[in-house]
Amino acid sequence: MASLLKRRAPCPGSVERRRGRAAYVFLIPWLLGLGLVTAVPLGASLYLAFTDYNILGTPSFTGLDNFERMIGDERFWAASSVTARYVFISVPLQLMFALLLAVMLDRGLRGLPFYRGAFYLPSLLGASVAIVILWREIFGHNGLVNDVLAFVGIEGQSWLQNPSTALSTLIVLNVWTFGSPMVIFLAGLRQIPEEYYEAAKVDGASRIQQFWHITVPMLTPIIFFNLILQTIGSFQTFTQAHVISGGTGGPVDSTLFYTLYVYQQGFRAFDMGYASALAWVLLLVIGAVTALHFILSKFWVFYGDD
């Protein structure tokens, strides 16, 4: 009997091992996806970054040549400049706009679900080809914006064909897709205890003071989360510039986003080695900017347990 009980008693270690194996079986689809769709291409592109590869032939190892070539490549610097301006202008603007609207919607408006849906819609559509084409029509020479300006006696221009305004137009398009961070802000606002505001009111704090001294500090983890997401997404902007400029990055490279330049090098010039090197530089820059955000977050992000 004693031996029977001994046999039946499950060994805690083996149960955990079995569960662990089962978990890995369920994870196989994801692991396969990660390996075949992400890790293998990532590794291949890292190798190609150090080669001269024109897609049709075989890659030949060239060391750091592709990276050295970037230093003297004017279009690389143009693309970097366009992307940096886009990221550092559009992301803060978009987050400010999203926060402002989230605070307004959080005040218990009638028909809140409708407004929330309506404001969220551009986030779903913003990067779609159809919306970008619509944007091109709105800001074109004979577009809606110029019609409205003409109505008030102002002569318009082709906003997308003027190098001084083309990028700004794309920034406006990005800011317009504020719905996604706005919904996250709304969720964050609901987590702030009402007692804080009540205590502040008792102390005579105005609405603006409440916003700056309660809402913003309590929302900093959410702001940080949105900042990271939107920054990474903005560095990777492609569709808008591709459709607006017909894939050229024009006029005169004023909308030559970094990813568009990578695409031009890889798929138009067949210079896949250089395109891979460019892609890795972008990955490293995004990694560095994200790391910087995390380092700086220690000074301005307040978690509940701080």
Binding site: L56, S158, P163, G247, T248, G250, R268, A269, F270
Partner: protein
């Protein structure tokens, strides 16, 4: 059901896999027939016409199945790039002009003159030699274009003006366009701003005794000739004779958007067919591009869009592919179905037959091509490897001049340097 254990399941699965493998083998190039992939580009009308023509081919050759692979021009090139990387190119494919020699250098073409089902008897030895690279027939032209100016005859009549005479020069055209834009009562411009129209630029260069590309695969023109070309356009732009970049919404304007505000434009002779159809109320005519004084002998030229058979095709499908290429380039039924949007037929017999069913615009196009074909022409060379983006660079340079970002000489020099750098990279 009780007896359906793991062993039964595995046996059943194995039998299923065997069956599927057998079925898939049957779908391939068995003795009963061949399946071919045919890739081309264009607009919706061309997609429909070619799909119908491929169906007619299959009715005439029931042993051959054709899988059509159509895309818009830009998407076609992207797909080709991906397919080339995967070594999975369509069996028969059209070739974008800037990629002809790039593909050749990388062995993408299968030789054509040893395929018994491809009949070359309609072509002269000179024709075959001009289609070949280093004596090997690797691609087959399926159209012929000439550089032209297309003008709106209705506008000329409405505005009561006449173009300079047939032997017009670039200077005469420039003066005419400036006067027309200044004086016409309907506020029309002379032309769209298109210094990046590659065939017009090539005509300009050849008249000066230069070439776009040399036989040994380099740029065949100097900064002075290119700078003069940019200057010719800059004057027109400054004088308001052509549309501004804003008015035409960037380089390479959409003709459907600007066609009713310009008198003429530069282009390939075949464009009249699709673009005249956008404005059925207007009558369009073609005329050869102007000729500079003292133009070099043999400056006229024709461009041949090409198709090829993929070098990776299985040997047992080569004859079927030859039949389809033969149907494409030598059969008048095919031509009647697809129309003449790809220009005049390169086959001299088909060219004459085409007049029987050609529309008024198509007859105009055929006449222009035939006239150039009869003239003496010095050799023309295809774009060398590494020039896949030269037209984008030309557009960017033209854009920069229009926006006053740089002078014409400086732009011409930097453009040539950029193109040459691409060639060096692609070598």
């Amino acid at each position: 059901m009780k007896n359906f254990n793991r062993r039964s399941f595995l046996a059943l699965t194995g039998m299923g896999a065997l069956g599927a493998t057998g079925l898939m083998a049957g779908c391939g190039s068995g003795s009963s027939g061949a399946t071919l992939r045919y890739a081309w580009w264009g607009n919706t009308v061309r997609q429909q016409n070619y799909t119908r023509a491929l169906e007619e081919f299959q009715e005439a050759h029931p042993e051959i199945t054709v899988d059509p692979e159509f895309a818009e021009y830009g998407a076609f090139q992207e797909r080709m790039t991906t397919q080339m990387a995967a070594r999975n190119v369509a069996d028969i494919f059209w070739i974008a002009s800037s990629q002809v020699m790039t593909y050749e250098a990388n062995g993408l073409y299968r030789r054509l003159d040893d395929i018994p089902t491809l009949d070359l008897s309609d072509y002269s030895d000179d024709d075959i030699a001009s289609f070949s690279f280093d004596g090997e027939l690797l691609t087959m032209p399926h159209g012929v274009f000439a550089p032209v100016t297309r003008f709106n005859e209705t506008f000329l009549e409405e505005d009561g003006v006449e173009l300079p005479g047939e032997g017009w020069t670039w200077d005469e055209l420039s003066e005419f366009l400036i006067d027309y834009a200044a004086d016409n009562p309907n506020g029309r411009r002379g032309a769209s701003y298109t210094p990046d129209q590659d065939m017009a630029l090539e005509a300009w260069l050849r008249q000066r005794g230069q070439d776009l590309w040399t036989e040994d695969g380099s740029t065949g023109f100097d900064a002075e000739a290119l700078g003069d070309w940019f200057e010719w356009w800059r004057v027109l732009l400054d004088e308001g004779a052509v549309l501004s970049l804003g008015e035409q919404e960037g380089m390479q304007p959409d003709f459907s958007a600007v066609g009713d505000s310009i008198l003429l434009n530069f282009g390939s002779s075949n464009h009249i067919i699709d673009e005249a159809a956008m404005f059925p109320d207007y009558k369009y005519r073609l005329r050869s591009v102007p000729v500079g004084e003292g133009a070099a002998d043999g400056h006229r030229f024709l461009y041949f869009p090409r198709l090829a058979i993929y070098s990776g095709i299985d040997d047992d499908r080569v004859e079927a592919a030859g039949q389809l290429v033969n149907y494409n380039v030598n059969n008048s039924d095919f031509l009647r179905t697809v129309g003449l949007t790809m220009g005049a037929p390169p086959n001299p017999r088909l060219l004459q037959e085409a007049y029987e069913f050609a529309s008024e615009d198509e007859v105009e196009m055929l006449g222009v091509v035939e006239a150039v074909r009869e003239e003496e022409r010095r050799p023309r060379y295809e774009a060398p490897p590494g020039t896949g983006t030269w037209r984008e660079a030309l557009s960017r340079a033209s854009e920069g001049i229009a926006l006053g970002n740089a002078g014409v000489s400086e732009t011409a020099e930097s453009l040539i340097a950029e193109i040459q750098s691409g060639i060096d990279q692609g070598a």
